[in-house]
Symmetry: C2
Subunit: 267 residues, 2 copies
Amino acid sequence: MSEFLKKVVIERLDGDTAVIEEDVTIQESRMSVFLNGEKAISMMCIPVDQDAHALGFLMGEGVISDVSDVDKIEISEDGLRVDIFTNKINEESLKHLYTEKTLVSGCGGGITGNVENAVEVDFIESDFTVEVDYIRSNVKQFYQESELYRLTGCVHKAMLILDDGLTICAEDIGRHNAIDKVVGKARLSGKCTSRAILVVSGRLSSEMVVKAVMHKLPIVVSRTAPTFLGVKTAMAHGITLIGFARGQKMNIYSHSARLSGFKRVGI
Amino acid sequence: MSEFLKKVVIERLDGDTAVIEEDVTIQESRMSVFLNGEKAISMMCIPVDQDAHALGFLMGEGVISDVSDVDKIEISEDGLRVDIFTNKINEESLKHLYTEKTLVSGCGGGITGNVENAVEVDFIESDFTVEVDYIRSNVKQFYQESELYRLTGCVHKAMLILDDGLTICAEDIGRHNAIDKVVGKARLSGKCTSRAILVVSGRLSSEMVVKAVMHKLPIVVSRTAPTFLGVKTAMAHGITLIGFARGQKMNIYSHSARLSGFKRVGI
């Protein structure tokens, strides 16, 4: 990843003295995603894992439903253009790529007609359970292994802990992008994510939780805070949402029945 | 702002015991901005200072050039719709609201024809200078006064320090939004921003620096890191960019001639 570290000359001020010296910053680039030759979106990111990034994003938006629908993914020589060729596009989701998305329960019941871009999703009913100590040890490792953050203070990280204990990691300047990348990497390698734990460094706003719902990830963990809408989205769609996971502590916001290894008090 | 704090019941786990108790999260809402009756954009935000938010955003995107072009701003009763009526719209910028924007020097020279949505900006040539101690004392105050962050850990803050020493603050779940709000508030109250200092809590990616360029803010300060493209944008367009402003320390990345009260060593 060191090719994304760019040197700059700074004045490092402390008290009344500024030392002129070299420092490193992270490079961000604009990557464009083309779907069957048509430009779908462009985004600022660290251009690595571009195929996974583009695929994870489009699947999270419901534009592509299954990785088996993808015929070919090409990355341009400069790394800033990804071409995805697929035989099956959800045109409605593609049309609404820049507008709001409303998740509705996939219960077969009626969907109100005035919801713009309603995406039907199933409640996540995974029977997957884990010990909280297992999450703690993985989270500890997660924080120890981010060299880009240590050097630049300017990246987010995401990690998928798969059912077999293997982990998939990605870093990016954007917390959205880091999630898209890890899920895309799992898809590209044919890994099952329905028994996976998503660990992220950033806040859990509703948009982050929606990504987890779209990718059917049962447990989401962050070192920092969720929003109220993030909590409500997790409750409504069956996500175990954990915030402020630091050392022995974590706040559990929803569906804690998937977690074991502790007792509950306070009622 | 307390109406945006929402109570939730959480399991606060520490070691092997989870205490079931009340906690607060921040509410986020989707706000839609309509321009002369047509929907321009919708965004997740804390719906407060909606008029300033919408105006600051549209001016930062170059859609509206001057606050005097605005005839009327209306906020719906539920606070989630802002209607801006203006007699002058930059249609080209509006068309490109969702695509990249490329800043080019407003030197009257030739613009290459293949740059999509080129926005011509002048190099910021403000003769405004400040003592670094003045920035430090304002930054110190900036961190002490964020109740929403203290309670939820889930908001960004921005502050404009005006030439007369007055400050304008705003908080939001998004760092983009917080900047749009403070600049919009300054515009709505007729304040001059060409001798103002922008202080932000979030990272200085290129998009944040571009906002400062568009609003002609000569000095930008963050408690955290810039990206390489953020530094390059600041250099190219005349912004004094300061990162990692904490206590007596700060890293100065560009155009430090506007800053006084320290000596330089190390060459």
